[in-house]
Symmetry: C2
Subunit: 190 residues, 2 copies
């Protein structure tokens, strides 16, 4: 039966958040709409009352996940600037906890190459989210020229994403830990 506007909005949000979690945990292609709808507490038939296609949900789920990441990054850096802000970010992002819980972490590291094959809507969301994330890191380095700060932030993000991706991909725990350690050491001097 019909639901109130408030209920409808809450349902929609629940679907996006369930999708955001499952896409990051299991991959976009490997996650079906039925599984997402079950996780959101519904049957799968109702999906198309909220979204025109799975692709649209992918774009919104990416948006939700990357916004959550940006808020986490802001919180983690707190009021710090310079090296202290960078160190706080590295300790949080390159942590075993993050490595072991892709579903709640960075969407770029979790969906990686799948985003490059997504539709234009999703890839536009990736561009926007990535730039915003880089800028929110760059503004913690007020002593740098802004173009340099942004370039440094972009590089640091790419290196962190690559390191987390590879730390998850290898099956040797010692190698995985040394990947994270190596990235932390090299990026700490930025």
């Amino acid at each position: 039966m019909k639901r109130s506007k408030a209920e409808t909005a809450e349902t929609r949000k629940r679907i996006v958040e369930a999708a955001s979690h499952l896409f990051r945990r299991d991959g976009i292609h490997a996650t079906g709409l039925a599984e997402i709808m079950t996780a959101a507490g519904m049957t799968h038939g109702g999906f198309y009352r909220h979204f025109p296609s799975k692709d649209q949900l992918v774009a919104e789920a990416l948006g939700a996940g990357s916004q959550a990441l940006r808020l986490t990054v802001q919180t983690v850096m707190g009021g710090r600037t310079g090296r202290r802000a960078v160190q706080a970010l590295l300790d949080n992002y390159l942590a075993p906890k993050h490595k072991d819980h892709p579903g709640d972490g960075c969407p770029f590291a979790a969906m990686g190459a799948e985003l490059a094959r997504a539709d234009s809507n999703t890839r536009a969301a990736v561009s926007g989210a990535f730039v915003r994330l880089a800028d929110s890191i760059a503004e913690r380095a007020p002593e740098k020229k802004s173009s340099v700060a942004r370039s440094d932030a972009i590089f640091m993000l790419c290196a962190m994403i690559g390191a987390l991706t590879m730390a998850r991909a290898v099956d040797d725990p010692k190698l995985s830990a040394s990947i994270l350690r190596s990235a932390k050491q090299h990026l700490a001097d930025s």
Copy 2:
């Protein structure tokens, strides 16, 4: 009908190479066995004469792709050592040509997060291939202590993989180019 041993071995190799290309270009999950077998010039029914499962093919395709990458890296660095070797590698790996042809390039950047969700067989192949690749870079820095050279190589690889992944994921060509440029600049001083 039955084929000679030489023909059988060639067929098997053709399947692995077709899979290696398609998995990198379109993703593991998104590539079906029928498409791979067609690319190898056969019907899909014959697949199980060569492999016990798709998972086994994934592991071998990853092995083939990463071995090809290592050979390319060796060739590109040529007889150089130190900064010159690094610069040659960066120019080759972080090039627009590599960015635009994932099917012929680095399997870590192309399959990224999918490898983290692959079976233990494939993830073991990832570990081995990643270490061998890092070592073949590390040995070009004879002036460094070997543990430092390996840590530096691991970091450089992760940063390159992350940069290439993000350069492919964003849809803004200028942003994509600036990601590659930023990674090149930062890694050149290693």
